[in-house]
């Protein structure tokens, strides 16, 4: 139930983000979710796309430093307190979050949130069969 995220290293200079999205666009790759973390010197762009392997290849080809990272996609009730409930559950199970970001689309009136967690194998094990619903790759990339 792990999802592949593409992470791209970006220097803080103009036009780089636009270039990444342009490369993906011309290669017919659709961005499903993204987050941009930035510091004074650099940024990290994280992407969920419909074709991770192809995205990795075309960005690498264009000279970007890229890598895939394993994350999980969690279905969150699209109502007040929905995310709080999920986070409570993760905390109870002792799963530490490195970072998280929300999906653009929805699945069956549920919001989707991407989590990068420590010890992902253990997290998947703990969450499988719990109240927190993880989405499989096949579903996430097609949303």
């Amino acid at each position: 139930m792990k999802i592949r995220e593409i992470a791209v290293f970006l220097e803080n200079k103009s036009g780089r983000l636009a270039q990444v999205t342009r490369i993906l666009g011309t290669n017919g790759i659709n961005i499903r979710a993204l987050s941009l973390a930035d510091t004074a010197d650099f940024g990290i762009l994280r992407l969920i796309v419909n074709e991770p392997a192809k995205a990795l290849a075309v960005l690498r080809e264009a000279g970007f430093t890229v890598r895939t990272t394993e994350v999980i996609a969690v279905e969150v009730p699209d109502c007040p307190g929905g995310l709080a409930g999920v986070l409570q559950e993760l905390e109870t199970k002792g799963i530490n979050i490195e970072y998280m970001y929300a999906f653009v689309g929805k699945a069956e009136e549920k919001a989707i949130v991407i989590f990068r967690v420590e010890e992902i194998e253990r997290a998947v094990e703990l969450l499988t069969g719990s109240q927190v619903r993880l989405l499989p790759e096949s579903k996430v990339y097609q949303i």
Binding site: F42, T65, Y99, R116
Partner: protein, 434 residues
């Protein structure tokens, strides 16, 4: 002049003295240092083959690598019991260059430094603040003993603690300052922040060296302190500060030729160049006992000025340093080689490190930014991990170089490559202009 007999000697007399001393030092290293004997045998030459001063060109060169390979005492030509002082400077690969001095050597050093201080207008009535570092570095102790020899009052502040330096300069009525030119400008900046006008203080001259500087920088120092700023040249291998210094004419640095024999060579071919042409400075020490050097290649570029000087000294002058034949940088007085950074990156698992050094003057202090291309091996999607990486590399680079740096992670291929070779250094300081 401190020693008019030697400083204003007629050229023929000086060359006769140099010739006598050269024969003695070549004989000394041939008898006492296996390295020199072997090199001379390989070149098919013995001390007896030298017939005149101009035969110097047949002797083999000595390089910084030779010094490193003979670490620590392999090139010493005196009994170690007669060595009373050691100095050392850092090199490309972490191994230091070690030099030694007998009592007589320290006497020679104090003598050439006394000449230097006198040349800069200093004497027994002066109070000299020595803000060069004291320790393995030759700067502090070198100036110190020369200043004591002329009978000045020495204020041995060493480097650092700039506010205190300025307070002591004012309170003690310092008249002569000795430090690196960039540190002088830093002091001026701090003094301004403290509301102290340096021009109101009795300081009248400064002896600045240990790093390259430019004519505009000299004018700034002279203007901000209200002093005359003298350029001094030296390197630990030859003796330390005092190999050459400007006189009040400020038109080239008078070389202490009775102790140091200078040549200018073509760095590519090794052939001596005619007087007045720009090339690499090569020195032979004529009087040192513990650590004589024969034809030492400094990698500093300069040229000799031979026209008579109005100050009355007859010694030849070298132009202020015009560049380097290697990629060594001098940052805050510390020698830095780009390859030291490469070593750190290789040790940290980078297969083919791409990096670049950007040196600038921020305020009046040198600032070194190390740009490192982030490869996929180093990259992580978490900001925290990249920041840890950056901090780790910074700590390791700082410990390798001995100076503070800033590390900036950059995208691959963002460091320009020319003909497949990366441009390793961008030096924005314009040190060699003019």
């Amino acid at each position: 002049m401190w020693s008019p007999e030697y400083e204003s000697m007629a050229r023929e007399r000086r060359e006769a003295l140099q010739w006598k001393r050269l024969k003695a030092v070549v004989e000394r290293v041939y008898q006492r240092v296996p390295f020199y004997r072997r090199k001379m045998e390989e070149a098919g030459i013995t001390p007896a083959d030298l017939q005149s001063l101009s035969d110097l060109k047949y002797l083999p060169f000595t390089t910084k690598d030779d010094l490193r390979e003979n670490y620590p005492f392999g090139l010493f030509a005196a009994d170690l019991d007669d060595v009373v002082r050691i100095h050392a400077s850092s090199g490309t690969t972490g191994k230091m260059t070690v030099v030694g001095y007998t009592k007589n050597d320290l006497g020679v050093w104090a003598e050439v430094m006394a000449r230097s201080i006198t040349s800069a207008g200093g004497g027994r009535h002066d109070r000299i603040q020595v803000a060069y570092g004291y320790g393995l570095f030759t700067g502090g102790l070198g100036v110190h003993y020369g200043a004591e020899l002329v009978g000045a009052m020495v204020v041995p502040t060493s480097g650092g603690n700039t506010k205190r330096q300025i307070m002591l300069m004012r309170d003690f009525g310092v008249t002569l300052l000795a430090c690196t030119p960039s540190y002088a400008l830093h002091m001026a900046e701090v003094a301004a922040e403290e509301g102290i006008n340096l021009r109101d203080l009795p300081v009248k001259a400064g002896i600045f060296g240990a790093e390259p500087w430019s004519e505009p920088m000299r004018r700034r120092i002279e203007d901000q302190f209200g002093i005359k700023a003298y350029d001094i040249y030296g390197l630990s291998e030859i003796i330390g500060p005092g190999v050459a210094i400007e006189c009040p004419e400020q038109n080239g640095l008078h070389i202490q030729e009775d102790h140091f024999l200078v040549e200018v060579i073509d760095p590519q071919t090794g052939h001596p160049l005619p007087e007045g042409e720009k090339g690499e400075l090569v020195f032979t020490t004529l009087t040192k006992e513990a650590f004589p050097l024969i034809r030492y290649r400094t990698r500093d570029l300069s040229l000799l000025q031979t026209e008579p000087c109005a100050c009355g000294r007859t010694t030849r002058r070298m132009h202020r340093i015009l560049g380097r034949t290697d990629d060594m940088l001098i940052i805050r007085g510390v020698n830095v080689f780009p390859s030291q950074i490469e070593t750190v990156l290789l040790e940290n698992g980078e297969a083919a490190p791409h990096y670049q050094l950007v040196v600038d003057r921020v305020g009046n202090l040198d600032d070194l930014e190390v740009r490192i291309e982030v490869s996929e091996a180093l990259f992580a999607s978490e900001v925290r991990k990249l920041e840890e990486l950056s901090a780790k590399l910074r700590t390791r680079i700082e410990s390798a170089l001995g100076i503070n740096v800033r590390v900036k992670l950059v995208e691959p291929k963002s460091i320009p490559r020319s003909e497949g070779k990366a441009v390793r250094v961008i030096d924005k300081r314009n040190l060699y202009h003019e």
